[in-house]
């Protein structure tokens, strides 16, 4: 495992070095490698595929334009995710100020919420099956949308992107203990929202 991690870092390092020397194909390779992770991160920030596509392109563009400042003090992926979380947070705030998320289900009235609850079977019988449903996906995404930016980013990095506490601490410049406690609070907020809808 250690060898594979080290080789992955070396591979990124070589691509970064080539990009810094002007090799655009090297940067294309980096985009190819991280596009899915970054796109999904972007999607979880904005909840819309088209908006996520634009945000993901912005993230990679920013990474390319600032690559000369990357000195290899951290992994390239850590650095890339720092840009991604910052841009994602800003885009989320920008869209929220403009009421973007109201039309995407956050402003549901009580009638709609009641009908949604009536159509959802009892979670306790077969939660795994139910959780895979598109409706649940939307409920979860709505719950993520309602999180404040700090909670949102940590849930995305840990539970959606699957990053370790150590990696998250590096990306967010937080102590590991703070990362864990913040994640716990974020999960509790999502839990209460899910419990309200599903129970």
């Amino acid at each position: 495992m250690f060898c594979s991690v080290r080789s992955e870092t070396d591979e990124d390092g070589q691509l970064v070095a080539r990009t810094q020397r002007g090799d655009r194909n090297a940067f294309d390779a980096l985009v190819e490698k991280y596009q899915k992770k970054i796109f999904n991160l972007a999607y979880r920030y904005v909840g819309d595929a088209e908006e996520a596509n634009d945000l993901a392109q912005e993230i990679f563009t920013a990474a390319y334009q600032n690559l000369k400042k990357f000195r290899g003090d951290s992994k390239f992926s850590t650095w890339l995710f720092q840009i991604a979380t910052n841009r994602g947070k800003n885009r989320f705030k920008y869209l929220k100020r403009r009421g973007y998320f109201v039309n995407k289900g956050m402003g549901e009235n009580d009638d709609e919420r009641d009908s949604q609850q009536r159509s959802i079977p009892d979670v306790s019988t077969n939660p795994e099956t139910l959780l895979a449903g598109k409706q649940i996906q939307k409920i979860v995404q709505d719950a993520i949308n309602e999180l404040d930016p700090d909670h949102k980013e940590i849930v995305i990095l840990r539970d959606i992107e699957g990053m370790s506490y150590e990696e998250i601490a590096q990306v967010l410049h937080l102590p590991e203990g703070t990362t864990k406690s913040r994640l716990h609070r974020a999960r509790m907020v999502v839990k209460e929202k899910l419990k309200r809808v599903l129970s």
Binding site: D28, V31, Y43, N53, A56, T61, N66, H184
Partner: protein, 304 residues
């Protein structure tokens, strides 16, 4: 914090399998006895599972090409935008307003400093007063005879600083005076100083043309000195009124607007005060602007 709240804080690590054996045992012991905590753990598990189970979307097939195109078509000012961002920050994503605010603050502080530090305005005046032989340095076009005469005469009048003092009240008794008054020959100002005066209003500009009073032990001599400066500024005398006792003379002069700031600044530097000299003194007329020229009234009063 009660026991349930304390145990609840460990649920996340319990689900992640990251608790040490001792802590895990104490958590599980509590769960075996607490229905509420078991329910909370169940819902937390559902939550984490729902989050980790969110579908992973695939980017468009041509995403790499789209990124390449976007990088290539980034507008030039974006690079400039990034440049200014990076000037003010060590990391590529520090908010730009911080840097812009810092730049604005520096500009404001510089303006305040420029307007309030007297030495910046006074140095050249003192220099010209102390260099009688070099009053002609960088001064005026030699093609204007009046100027040449004025220079020569001003040189004779103020061959050294001690003679200049004879026209002036002592600083301790003068009201508002800052240093011995010496009507030096007009200096040539660089275009940059004119531009600077226009961009950054001086105290003289703010005072206005109707508020200048100059105190001098010899009012007539001070007035004559000012009159001799006028040709060098492309100005002319348009009005003169004096009291019978010659203790006060008010002169009106017409000068180019571009010379107004320079002249009033020099008068200020050499002791002109802002306010009038008392209710019994007839205030001068307000200055009027005539297109590119300004009418300026200066009141010369005897030292009190």
């Amino acid at each position: 914090m009660n026991e349930c709240e304390r145990i609840c804080n460990f649920f996340g690590e319990l689900l992640d399998g990251q608790l040490d054996p001792q802590t895990e045992k104490s958590v599980r012991d509590h769960l075996s006895q607490c229905t509420g905590c078991r329910e909370d753990l169940k819902w937390l598990g559902i939550t984490v599972q729902s989050l980790t189970g969110l579908e992973k979307l695939a980017p468009p097939p041509d995403f790499v090409a789209q990124v390449r195109l976007r990088i290539s078509s980034s507008p030039p000012n974006n690079a400039i935008f990034q440049f200014f961002r990076n000037v003010f920050s060590a990391s590529p994503y520090m908010p730009l307003p911080v840097g812009v605010s810092a730049l604005a603050l520096i500009a404001v502080l510089g303006l305040v400093f420029y307007n309030h530090v007297p030495s910046l305005n006074a140095t050249t005046g003192l220099t010209s007063a102390r260099q009688p032989a070099s009053h002609t340095q960088g001064a005026l076009s030699s093609g204007v005879n009046g100027v040449t005469v004025a220079q020569r005469q001003s040189d004779n009048r103020f061959p050294d600083h001690s003679q200049a003092r004879s026209f002036l009240p002592s600083p301790s008794t003068a009201v508002g005076l800052q240093r011995p008054y010496a009507m030096s020959a007009p200096r040539s100002h660089t275009q940059s100083s004119d531009v600077k005066n226009r961009l950054f209003p001086t105290r003289a500009d703010v005072i206005g043309a109707d508020n200048l009073t100059v105190e001098s032990p010899s009012v007539q001599n001070a007035v004559n000195s000012l009159k001799k400066m006028l040709p060098g500024m492309e100005g002319r005398l348009i009005d003169e009124k004096s009291r019978e006792d010659m203790h006060e003379i008010v002169i009106g002069i017409l000068i180019p607007s571009s010379s107004y700031g320079r002249l009033t600044k020099e008068l200020i530097n050499h002791g002109a005060v802002e306010a009038g000299a008392g209710a019994d003194i007839v205030p001068p007329k307000r200055a009027d602007t005539e297109g590119n020229h300004v009418v300026l009234h200066v009141r010369f009063v005897s030292r009190r």
